[in-house]
Structures are given as C-alpha cells and as structure tokens.
C-alpha cells in the first residue's frame, strides 16, 4: 500500500536562489524502509517536513495516508510519527517524562499507555534509565528515545530525519533492527540519511542531490548498473598514493580511492581495464573485480570522480624527509567531572604520515584532537607536537601547523576573500606573500566565482574547501583535520583526499579524524576510539585482518570496528 505519494514536489525558501526541492516525485510504501538519501543540502529535511505537514509545498502535490498534509494536518498528526533531526527531546526532562508528555499529546492513556510504555522501553532497552534526564543520555540512547516518542500512538507512517547521525556503529545496528521490525509490522518507515551505506541498506530509496531527484527505486537496481566496473588493484609496490593518482589520470578510470593495501578503481562504462605497467605502477599489480557499492553509483550519476590532481599539493614545497615522530601522545587523559572523554591514549605520528582517529561521534576523537592542538588542557598525560606542548608553545611553533575544526569555523558573515585575507594576516604573512598565498588558494580550490559571496551562504562542500584553504595558506608542516569531510558529498570528499594525499606526498604530516569507516582506509595507520579509549592502533588492513573470522572472512571496516569493540568488552 502506498503511504505517501509525491508528484512534482517543489519548495523554495525566501532569500535562497535555488529551490530546496525541485520537481521531486516518488512513493513511500507501507511495510518497507524507504531511504531519503543525499549529501547536505540535498533537500532531505525539507522533504521530511513536507510529509510531516510542517511545511507547505510551493508546487506539485503530496498525499500522505490518502490526505493532503498541508490542509488536513490535524487528522494526520495522530497517524504520523515524526522524529526531527535534533530528536525533539526535552533535555531537562527524564526519559519517562518525555514519554509521558508525548503519550498525553497523542491520547495514549490508561492501560494502553502502561502496555505501550512497557513494550517501547523493552524494545529500546531504555527500561533501566527511565529516571535519567534526556540530556544525560548518550547519542544512541537519545536516538532510541526519540524513536520511542515518535512511535507512541502506533503511527502508520514513521518519519525519521537522519537517525543515524551521532550514533555508534553498535547502536546503529540496533536501530536498524528496530526499524526493520516496525516495517515488518506494516508501518511505512522513511529514513533520511547522508551516509550512502545506510541508503544501500534501505528497501527503497529516493536519492537526492541539490534538491533534485537522481534516482528512485531499489538501491540494488542502481548498484547493479555498476557491475563489472568496480575493481581492486592489489600487489602495488611503492607508494600507493602516487599509483592512484597515476590511474586516475587514465581516460578509462572515472573514480578511485585507496582501500587499505589495494586501490579501488571504478571504470567508465564499457571501458577496458588499463594496464598498470603503462601507468608506471611498480610491483606485481593484479586486477580483481569487486562488488559495486551505492556510492559508486551515486558518483557515477554525478558524472564521475574529480580526478587525482591536487593543485594545492602541486604548489606546495616539498619538506625534507626526516621520518621522526612529530606528534606524540602519551597516556593522554581528559576528565569532564567523573567522565573520561579521553582515557589513557598513547600514539605517535611520524613525519609524512596520515594518521587517522576513527570512531563514532562522542567517542572522544575531538577531545583528543583538541588536546594535541593545545586547545584543551589534559587532566594527565603528555601531548606534544614537534617536541613542544602547544599549550605553552610560543607562537613560532603554532606558525608551523594548520587546523581545520570539525564545525565550520570561519567567519560566516565575511566574504570568502575577506576570510582568506584575514587568515593570511593572522599568520603574519607580509603583504606580497599574503597576496600570493590568497591567489594560490583561489586557484587551487577554484574559488574565483565565489570570492565576494558571504561565506555562510555557500554550500557545505565549498565551506569546507575554504576552511582547508585557510588552514593551508601559511604552508604548515603539520595539518590537523577534524572530520573534514563530514556531511559533504562523495565527490567533494574525493577532492579533499586528493589534496590530503598530495600534501603527504610532499612530506606534510597529517592527523585526521573521521567517522566514515571507509575513509579510515585512506590512512597509513588508524587508531580506533571507543568510549574515550584507543582500542586498536594499526594500518587498516591489519585491523581488518585481525577481525576476520571464518564466518566473515573479508570484513568491512565497520565489521572490524564492531568486532574489536566486542572483543574489548568481552575481555
């Protein structure tokens, strides 16, 4: 049965030139999980809000459970469950008080309430925490409580806006289990996400980009188009990053990334496999076909990857190769009250290396990161960069590092050019050096058309590019990148990694955090962070190999992560 029908749906917001949604059509069926997928700014939240009757469309028509949500919202509100992106929980009320409020609002009373609460609490495993304030719950528990509130009054349509954000991989699997169970009961579930691996797990998907519908249907249908075009190149000797960029220059190749020891290459339609030797790749390279992923299809729909060049790296001066440990953490601990955000973490990063900290939001990556940059004082332990504690560092030491924060942290009200000029001034570049640096960043990141645009009006992808430009303007030897690609579309992510790879080839040392499991494979070594602890520290392939079992001989990074957490907790 069709729970919602969209036809030619358009929505424009005042003050924005491009429509948030433009001519989107599709269906949401009962009994299945429908994914609304796409990067930031694709129009996912607008679509969810339209279905919830919180916005009125400017064009096209929308029918939800046989009614028009913009005129018959009253009737629908009891039949549609909606979980907004920020959960919609009152953080200063307890779990039970939040549930009671929503139960009262939805007329769930008496025996029915007792029974529903018991069912939802055991379903979400929240029963032991009923008196805890919602603000004190972990990200995963908040998400489950938000889901429980949305489920009160047994809705026929359940709208979940980005429920997978900020949730650790284990909770995310539980959430999926719960949602599948609900779909099994005949409820229509809509799950919006910017993670393409989540979209792939949905029964059906509406794939959006910049307000337009790219694809509607079963994810496998889209992925199926890529069959035969996705390859691994194993056995590469020497520098994999140089090999990758050589392959990306080949006309047959449309996209490629590093995946552990292998290069993962996507070919153009009907293209032949290129000869690795002809691309100058050493060793005994060997092609092997692998299963296509949803992301491959998405990039293909967008016209392929960005190639392998990095103008930023090309313009950079090579650093002398010393291979010494530039970044050292020793027993690093940060307590917030009696909660250890970072718990006895130790690692060292060598010059010219990409070191990644991998873990879900809230695991303690950013806390560790900020201690390394001198932004937070460790409760105990040592954090040194170039042998110096940055908290007490002279400006001279900080002149040698670049930092890109997790949250967009340039001056949103200023134009792109002014931001660039400001940061060149902050790093004390002389007038002529500043002018050269700004020009070079404009060229490297193709910023010319946006120079006089106010930065906060740009898309997330461009904001991140400018943030990276500002962090690199003074040619730092060490780059700290905190979740540089979170929320941006896969093509921009590739572009970022081109820059990162290129800079490392020039001898820049990079420390990066990410919660994208696949991105971890681009790093030389990764540290897995869970509940503030570093539970593993090794090259990506070693981590996957360590997690392999007979049941799962070729685990993904996420499988490996979950396996390692389970082992950690078992011991």
């Amino acid at each position: 049965m069709e729970a919602a029908t969209l036809s030619g749906l358009t929505k424009t917001f005042k003050g924005l030139a491009a429509p948030a949604l433009s001519d989107v059509s599709g269906t949401v069926r009962s009994g299945v999980v429908t994914g609304v997928a796409g990067p930031d700014g694709a129009g996912k939240t607008t679509l969810m809000r339209l279905m919830a009757g919180l916005l009125r469309p400017d064009g096209g028509s929308l029918s939800v459970l046989g009614r028009d949500p913009s005129t018959q919202a009253g009737n629908l509100r009891l039949r549609v469950g909606y979980m907004p992106q920020k959960f919609g929980l009152y953080e200063d009320l307890s779990v039970l008080e939040n549930l009671t409020l929503h139960a009262d609002l939805r007329n769930v009373t008496g025996d029915a309430r007792r029974e529903t609460f018991a069912r939802l609490l055991s379903f979400t495993d929240l029963a032991p925490f009923t008196t805890r304030l919602a603000g004190k719950l972990s990200g995963g528990m908040k998400q489950k409580l938000g889901l429980a509130c949305a489920l009160l009054g047994t809705p026929e349509l359940l709208l979940l806006d980005e429920p997978g954000v900020g949730v650790d991989p284990i909770s995310r699997r539980e959430l999926w289990r719960m949602v599948r169970e609900l779909a099994g009961q005949g409820i229509a579930v809509v799950w919006s996400t910017s993670y393409l691996d989540e979209a792939e797990a949905c029964d059906e998907v509406l794939l959006l980009n910049q307000g337009r519908l790219l694809f509607a249907g079963r994810p496998a249908d889209l992925t199926g188009r890529m069959r035969g075009r996705c390859l691994h190149l194993g056995g590469v000797a020497g520098r994999r990053r140089r090999a990758l960029s050589a392959l990306l220059r080949r006309p047959e190749v449309t996209d490629g990334v590093i995946q552990g020891a292998n290069l993962r290459i996507v070919l153009k339609e009907n293209a032949a496999r290129p000869d690795p030797a002809a691309a100058g790749i050493e060793g005994r390279p060997e092609w092997k076909e692998v299963a296509p992923r949803f992301e491959d299809a998405f990039i293909d729909l967008l016209g392929g990857g960005p190639g392998g060049e990095s103008a930023l790296a090309n313009a950079a001066n090579p650093r002398p190769d010393s291979r010494e440990s530039l970044i050292v953490a020793e027993d690093l601990t940060k307590m917030f009250g009696d909660f250890a955000a970072t718990d006895r973490v130790s690692f060292a990063v060598r010059q010219g290396e990409i070191f990644g900290l991998l873990g879900p939001n809230g695991a303690g990556k950013s806390t560790t990161f900020k201690m390394m940059c001198g932004l937070l004082t460790p409760t105990s332990g040592r954090a040194e960069v170039m042998g110096i504690d940055l908290r007490r560092s002279p400006s001279r030491a900080r002149q040698r590092l670049g930092y890109m924060a997790q949250k967009f942290s340039l001056y949103g009200k200023l134009t792109v050019r002014r931001n660039l000029e400001f940061f060149s001034g902050v790093y004390g570049l002389s007038r002529s050096a500043a002018r050269r640096a700004v020009e070079s960043m404009i060229d490297s990141f193709h910023l010319q058309p946006f120079l006089d645009a106010v930065t906060e009006d740009l898309s997330l992808g461009y904001k991140q590019r400018i943030a990276l430009a500002c962090a690199c303007m003074h040619e730092p030897d060490i780059l700290f990148l905190d979740e540089p690609t979170s929320g941006v579309d896969p093509v921009t992510r590739r572009e970022f990694w081109n820059h990162i790879n290129g800079l490392v080839e020039k001898g820049v040392t990079i420390m990066v955090t990410t919660h994208f499991m696949d991105e971890a494979e681009y790093c030389d070594r990764i540290g897995l962070v869970h509940h503030g602890r570093l539970i593993a520290l090794a090259p990506p392939d070693d981590l996957k190999a360590a997690a392999a079992s007979t049941a799962l001989p070729d685990p993904t990074m996420e499988d490996a992560f979950i396996e390692l957490i389970n082992r950690q907790e078992a011991s």
Partner: protein
C-alpha cells in the same frame, strides 16, 4: 479536533513547570534578579537629597549673618562647607559642593536698617539640575523661616506674604523612594513577563523541540495557553515576593487591597506575556529575542512608563505613544494601590486599558504562533 484538550494542556503545563523548576536561570530571572533590582532601585535611586553639600561664604562680620549661617549649618538638609568665594568656586567646579550661598558684606547693615532685606546670593551647580532646584527651594524656605523667627524675636510685624501650609498626601515626608519603588516593580515585572516567555519559546525553536510539538496533535490554542499559564503563575509569585519585600524591608506602605493588586498584576502580566510570545514567535532564537525584548520592552518601561520620568512633560507624540505601553498603567495603579488605596477612579481606567493591551498583544501573538515551520 477541539481547540483545547484538557489532557494535552495539562501535560504541556506540567512539562513547562518541570522545566521552570529544573532550570536555574528561570529561578534567577523570576526571583533573584527582581530582588536584586529592588534593592538597587530602593537604595540607589533617591531623588531626595537629604544632606546636600553646600558651601557658605560669610563676608559680613555682623551678628545677623552669623545667626543665619548658624541656621543653615544646623539644617538637616545641608552639610555646610565654609570658604571664600574663589575656594567655593573651585569646589563647585569639581563637584565637591552642589551650590553655595554668599552673605555679602552689607548683609547685617541692610538688615539693621530695618528694611528687612539683605542680599543673599545663591550659586548652584546647574550640571545637576534636580539638586540645583532642590537647593533653591530649600534656601527659600530657610530664608523665610529665619526672617520670620527673627521678626518674632524683635517683636516686629513681618509677614506680608502668604502663609503657605504644604501637605503631601499619601507620602507626608515626600520620600521619593515611596513612589520610585512601585515604578521599579513595574520595570521588574516587565522584564520578567516579556523576557522569560520570549526566551523559553525561542529556546524551544532553537533546540528543535518546537518541531516535535508541531508534528504532534497539539493545537495553536493549547500551545499558547501552555506558555501563558505557567509563566502567569510564576509572574504572580514574583510579584508577591517583590511586593512583600517592598513593604517589609523598604518600608513602603500598602494601603490598597490584595484583590486589587491581583487584578492589575494579572492584566499587566497577560499583556507582557503576549509581548514576549509575539517577539519569540517572530525571532525564533534566544539571542535576537533577548535583544528585541531589551529594546522593545525594557527600555520603554524605563523611559516612557512614568516610573522615573514625568510623562506629562514629554512632547505630545511621545505622550501619545505611552498610551500603548502597558507599564504606564501599572505604574499609576501600583503607586495608587501602595500609597493611596483602592482608588477606583484611577484603577478602573488602568485595568480597562491593560485589558485592551492584553487582547491586542495576545491576539497578535496568536496570529504569529506558527502551526507550520514556514508560516
């Protein structure tokens, strides 16, 4: 669907009450800030200069001059600093005295000649106009008193002027604190009424809980009432606290009745809650709401309500504007209830006007209360 379901309304009010009780900042805004302000207003703002620093230059060596000087020195109104004219000029410039009196060289001689006149020169510091006019008034009184007393001593028939008996009703000692405190309470209630509601509604928008509420079956009326009722109760409680503090610690009389106070406070609070709801529904974020509240509610309450400044002396357009401001009515109502009693000729028009502003602002707030995000 009925506009108000008792169950939903109760659930929302209970939620609001829990949040008030758990959030220290609402407690601070509702109780601590008012008491702090009351103390500041009560002690800090005082237009009665009880001991004005007055310079005195006696250039006449006669007995009459000495006698008048003695009277000034003994006066409770003045703290007298003797000195020469140049010295006093310097002190006046530096603000160490607010005025000085000169008893000129022929002061006693002119008086002795029986002409009953003697030149006294008063110089005040016009940079403090209020104090300057008080000095002028006090000096006239002192001079008249001294002349009459002297005439009596000499057995002369003196008074050719009027014998003016001055009486201040409701406030016999003309203590400015007694009328400034009702004005201050008005300002405090304005801040509580508008600031508290505008911040809580804006917070719901910021934290995304408003989106969850809008997606539930809650109606516009329920949404509005669930914000009005709890903060109305909170406002009434803080009025009780502030009024008790004013009467018991600041010594302000309370001559009216509690029911009258409840009625005027109620209609006033409803107006200001309406203003707060209106601002936050439009702004939807705490920062802008707080700033707008400051400019649209607090400043007018200070400047235009008559709490401190005199409405009658303002230019006509400003005077007209004050009729739109609920604080204006609360100021006269509170001054009357505290100092005079239940004078219905004053209270009834005030209550009617405030009922009008309540209806006005609540209607506007209701119209602006969104049922959708793009409204």
């Amino acid at each position: 669907m009925s506009p108000v379901s008792p169950r939903r309304l109760k659930a929302l009010c209970v939620k609001e009450a829990r949040q008030i009780l758990r959030d220290p900042s609402s407690g601070i805004i509702a109780f601590v800030l008012p008491l702090m302000l009351l103390v500041i207003f009560g002690y800090g703002i005082n237009l009665d200069a009880s001991r004005i620093r007055l310079g005195l230059s006696i250039e006449d060596g006669g007995q009459a001059a000495a006698s008048f000087a003695a009277q000034l020195t003994g006066s409770t109104y003045f703290e007298v600093f003797p000195g020469s004219r140049p010295e006093l000029d310097a002190m006046l410039e530096e603000g160490r005295i607010r005025g000085y009196a000169v008893l000129a060289r022929d002061f006693s001689r002119l008086l002795e000649e029986g002409r009953d006149t003697a030149p006294i020169q008063i110089v005040t510091d016009g940079a403090e106009p209020n104090t300057a006019s008080l000095i002028e008034a006090f000096m006239r009184n002192a001079w008249q008193d001294w002349r009459q007393a002297r005439a009596r001593d000499l057995g002369q028939d003196t008074a050719q002027g009027a014998d003016i008996r001055v009486r201040y009703w409701f406030n016999p000692a003309a203590v400015s604190r007694h009328y400034l405190i009702p004005g201050s309470i008005t300002i405090i209630m304005t801040v509580i009424g508008a600031m508290l509601t505008s911040l809580v509604v804006a917070r719901e928008w910021e934290r995304g809980t408003m989106e969850a509420l809008l997606a539930s079956p809650v109606t516009r009326t329920e949404l509005l009432l669930s914000k009005l009722l709890p903060y109305y109760v909170l406002g009434m409680i803080s009025m009780a606290v502030v009024a008790l503090a004013a009467v018991h610690f600041m010594g302000v009389p309370f001559r009216g009745s509690v029911p009258a106070l409840v009625v005027v406070t109620s209609v006033f609070l409803l107006s200001m809650l309406g203003v707060g709801l209106l601002i936050s529904s439009v702004m939807r974020n705490q920062f802008d709401s707080a700033q707008t509240t400051l400019n649209a509610a607090f400043l007018p309450a200070v400047m235009l309500s008559g709490a401190f400044f005199v409405i009658a002396s303002m230019p006509a357009p400003l005077r007209a504007l004050t009729y739109l401001l609920p604080p204006r009515y609360l100021v006269t109502s509170l001054q009357t209830i505290f100092l005079a009693g239940d004078v219905w000729e004053v209270l009834v028009p005030d209550i009617l006007f405030m009922t009008g502003t309540s209806v006005l602002f609540l209607t506007l707030a209701a119209l602006k209360t969104a049922r959708r995000l793009d409204e």
